[in-house]
Symmetry: D2
Amino acid sequence: MSEMLMAPDWQASRWFNTQTPLNLAQLRGRVILLHAFQMLCSGCVSHAIPQAERVHREYAGDGVVVIGLHTVFEHHTAMMPVALEAFLHEYRITHPVGVDVAAAGDPIPATMRLYGMRGTPTLILIDRTGKLRLHEFGRMDDMKLGMRLGQLLAEEAEVVAGQGRRIERR
Amino acid sequence: MSEMLMAPDWQASRWFNTQTPLNLAQLRGRVILLHAFQMLCSGCVSHAIPQAERVHREYAGDGVVVIGLHTVFEHHTAMMPVALEAFLHEYRITHPVGVDVAAAGDPIPATMRLYGMRGTPTLILIDRTGKLRLHEFGRMDDMKLGMRLGQLLAEEAEVVAGQGRRIERR
Amino acid sequence: MSEMLMAPDWQASRWFNTQTPLNLAQLRGRVILLHAFQMLCSGCVSHAIPQAERVHREYAGDGVVVIGLHTVFEHHTAMMPVALEAFLHEYRITHPVGVDVAAAGDPIPATMRLYGMRGTPTLILIDRTGKLRLHEFGRMDDMKLGMRLGQLLAEEAEVVAGQGRRIERR
Amino acid sequence: MSEMLMAPDWQASRWFNTQTPLNLAQLRGRVILLHAFQMLCSGCVSHAIPQAERVHREYAGDGVVVIGLHTVFEHHTAMMPVALEAFLHEYRITHPVGVDVAAAGDPIPATMRLYGMRGTPTLILIDRTGKLRLHEFGRMDDMKLGMRLGQLLAEEAEVVAGQGRRIERR
């Protein structure tokens, strides 16, 4: 999937850590970090999930929205929502997490299929205008992620500057 | 529990990574590392379980037997044996793991209760004569664990030396 | 020192890893990461120097110029240029490093004094127009550094966009 | 060099962190960890030296004597005793460190030559009777080092047990 197409919306059958379901339209104007994971995927647990949680805790105030998506495509009976809920509690995850919608007769859930994800963890960045700007499978290091987020966040300053105003961020 | 009493036997309703159930009597003469964990305990997943697996892979040939015990005392529905099985597969755990026996009307399983464990992870070392030599709750660092294992392993040399023979180990 | 002033030029009595001395004027248009260190400062050796080297290796092609400055303010006899040269060789440092100019009768070298640095490591970011945008003493984590670099790098796109052209970077 | 020969004595032209020079004879009955390093060897600085310091701080009370030996075989002018002294101060090294004696016309110092060391870091373990029990070049992990130290420390219990007394250690 090209990285400059409009990002398709995700589908979630259930949400944790948010009062209301989240969708792309309501987040327009923000930079979105969407990370797809499975609670029994060791690379997700050791790296991708804590990294996403950290972005949520440190950069939510700068305009980054972090969303987890539980894309179970194997060991389905071991990763039911009741297990996910215990997992999120034990790992102290505070950012919103949706459960990717199961598709009839397909082990791969709907959003995972829609985005063409290759596995977990997958990291997706969507810019302030809703365009897909990064889609990466596997571990992403902190510096590279920071670099990409910094670039996407700066795009607001650009637009705002064109309107005669500039916002500096630390 | 004093650290020089005989270790009580564990009780497991099911085993993974072993053809036959394991018990203390059949392991007499070996140094036993028994680690109690829960698959959704983050300190277990990040440290205690990989540490135990490493001891198994590197020191089984020196006479250390590593046994995991899944002592579920919370989130029971999230950590059923089917979930544990997926977990062991995903985390590539190859050492034997038993499921601590549930006790009727008690959230704490039988062996956990019997040993008076305070939580997970708990690390227990049993010497070649079946005595309990270490019982520690929480994270144990590699050097300290190596030191204790080295001391317990050396006790064989001691006995054997008394019989006029000495074994050198790497 | 305010973070929006023009950055003053550094002074170096000697350079390593560059054919010609470097100065601010010739780097206008690039984002500059200037890191002040001492070869016997443990926080520099374990974190700041390898972090800077990594930015050099991975982001030089994106327009970041990394410059080390050896700001010796203690143990002067132990950190002479001959020792620094051996250090740079042993630690495989490939980015340009200047030796901050000693000031007569002052243990603190000239650039360190000029910038008002509090110690080592100190990290300084200078934007494409020569303005000082970050001045931080101590350890900076990778994600935060990436974020700041990403923002500064994006400022080129902003200017160029105003000229009717846009550059996308990976 | 076989690992069961008597360890030869080291030669030091100068000592740090000890009032009096140390030699093997006076340490008989203790387990000795001798680590050879260079202050500009990155593997020494990041791993071997802090590991040795940690053994010193945590296990000196159990009968382990930790000794560093500065075996400079390259960049001699960069690693003079004045530089070593600053290094030990900056890295908060508290265990005794000797400077290996320079040999006329040989870049390799005397003890390094005598022990046939291949480079730095080198780790040597000497048992309570003065025998060389381990001689390893390169990085040694904490668990393996703990294991070897535990075995050597246990040999005291063995001897003492033969005299009708037993000492338990934590």
